[in-house]
Symmetry: C2
Subunit: 371 residues, 2 copies
């Protein structure tokens, strides 16, 4: 049996914060890392060349969306997702579970899986752990996710049910998983309930996954609950595997998550905000439509090294927004993605220099001051 | 008196076709050249970095649009158009005349100028030769255009009137023009009437402009008429100044125009087509929405060296179009702009190697075969 192409190398720790490298067949992921989301096999309004310049390494794409359109078979026929979307670096696909529960119409869940109607054309579709793995194998991402069920964070009865199903489905995903060039990550659920989270972390980490994710957070619980859930789960997850906090991308959540030992984040937030002319800064969000920027010759953020801040003023960006020019979305997406990747890069540096706590405090003070 | 920073250097001729260099304060323009259009101080969906990679040198922006929004004063306050839109290379602004006659509502023309209602907010605005020059001086492009009137090509009486006004306005523009770091080009009008075109070419070239444009073509006349008008005008225009065919950007019009001695072209066509998923090729246009491309693993055009063709399949581009992803407009714009710039680059090479006629024939045969 040949060695797995996947391994997590722990480089440094600082408190619970970790700097590491996750080795994949498409390159090394230096953690902690923020992964831009390319829902439909494209990070909206940004080219792969621009993503490379931003310093992205891992990109996420959504199985639910690609399953419905253009279909996993087409992506496989085109040589897989890396080739299809022209991203030669690591890719992660989620399982489709989250979108089935948030986007699909008229879903019907049973122990075996979920039947739902496509939000695109209303056609009836079905996802099970086995089908999700099959689709993800066709897509060919480096990291693939177990099919799980995400329940509302405060509903205990539903969370108990969903967690049990998530555990059963995780076993089935492990059984169904075949491609050795793909790392299948398990997902911990349990809502905002510490005891359920502990139980789920223990169960999922008892299965031999090369990485673990925390699902069902940033879906309505408080910031304090999110922090507590991360802490109780990470106290149980093995230290020799990467830890991925799914769907989280607010700057303060990155800083807080890294402090509690998270290695990987993803979120549509930076690109979605950009399409609504909101730019992320150390002092909170700027709405570029604001008239106060009409004559502002400064960049989105002084000192930011992104392409947008090096070359364009707030006045110009506001003009693009007012004139409804597509370039606005591109330039603000570039900034927002760079901003989050820069947090993860600076965090990594701070961990390696044993000053993460100070880094985090400085960060959070700025954001607090802005509120 | 110091020497003008503008001069046209004729490098080679092949029949009537010319290869040259137009020197400007923001760099040399190797002619023949196609100029992408950045109507609102942005070439739609494309960053300046991407334009540079495409090989663009001259970019056009529209005075009418910038006058209305964000206003010439703001652009001047931001250091001028080069800095505002982050294009350090040559820029050309038109006079606003064409848009006043094609876009504005309720325009009222008199000998002094035009009063019209903004198509954006209905406010009443006025443009005269003097105001157009003043706005263009504030915008700060390298090449600025005389304020002219473009009449429907087949209406002789209107063309006589509009031509006379264009000539009078050209004189006034020359008088109003002050900045020595801007080259003011005169514009020949006269519709589809050879005698009027001759008269206009003689009149305008009797005024000392550093460059001459042919306006009022590609607005409804036949291809044969366009070719004839270019021929009669270029027979009169001086050979030691650049010749600019305004608003023309179909591939065959470039090939035919260059053959008749045109040096500069501009058009919104490549980017507008791109936003309607039409890709330009040597064999005509591809509608990327076409189902026949769903499984097509080839690029838009085999052998094309643009970023899009080097990295993305027709199947992927079709997926982006179907999924309404903004990246489609960006990637197809990059291809279409590269395609037209590549025509002008290859044309220049062919002229320098005295094989332009052959180059043009090969080009046009391909397009004819596709029709």
């Amino acid at each position: 049996m040949s060695a797995s192409p996947f391994s997590y190398e722990l480089i440094a720790t600082d408190g619970d914060a970790r700097a590491g490298i996750f080795h994949t067949p498409h390159g090394d992921i230096f953690t902690p890392i923020f992964a831009p989301v390319g829902t439909q096999a494209t990070v909206k309004a940004v080219t792969p060349a621009q993503l490379t310049e931003i310093g992205a390494s891992l990109v996420l794409s959504n199985t639910y969306h690609l399953f419905l359109r253009p279909g996993a078979e087409l992506v496989a026929e085109m040589g897989g997702l890396h080739k299809f979307m022209n991203w030669p670096n690591p890719i992660l696909t989620d399982s489709g579970g989250y979108q089935v529960f948030s986007l699909a119409k008229m879903r019907k869940i049973d122990e075996d899986g979920v039947t739902f109607k496509s939000h695109i054309d209303g056609s009836t579709r079905r996802l099970t752990p086995e089908i999700s793995i099959e689709i993800q194998e066709k897509l060919g991402a480096d990291i693939i996710m177990a099919f799980d069920e995400c329940a509302p964070p405060e509903d205990r009865a539903y969370n108990e049910l969903a967690m049990a199903r998530t555990h059963a489905w995780a076993e089935r995903c492990l059984m169904a998983h075949r491609r050795s060039d793909q790392a299948l990550f398990g997902i911990v659920q349990g809502g905002a309930f510490a005891d359920l989270r502990r139980q789920s972390a223990a169960t999922i980490s008892s299965m031999d996954f090369p990485g673990y994710a925390i699902g069902g957070l940033s879906v309505g619980e408080t910031k304090a609950e999110m922090a507590e859930m991360i802490e109780v789960v990470n106290a149980i997850l093995p230290t020799n595997k990467p830890r991925y906090l799914m769907g989280v991308g607010a700057p303060e959540d990155l800083v807080n998550g890294i402090q509690r030992g998270i290695d990987i984040f993803d979120c549509v937030l930076p690109t979605r905000l950009a399409r609504h002319q909101a730019a992320m800064t150390h002092l909170g969000r700027l709405n570029l439509l604001n008239a106060s920027f009409a004559h502002d010759a400064g960049p989105i953020e002084e000192g930011c090294a992104c392409y947008t801040c090096r070359n364009f003023t707030r006045a110009y960006l506001r003009h693009l927004v007012v004139a409804k020019e597509m370039l606005a979305a591109t330039l603000v997406s570039i900034h927002n993605l760079f901003f989050l990747l820069e947090i993860s890069r600076q965090a990594r540096q701070a961990i390696q220099e044993s000053r993460y706590k100070q880094f985090a405090e400085e960060w959070l003070v700025g954001l607090d001051a802005a509120e």
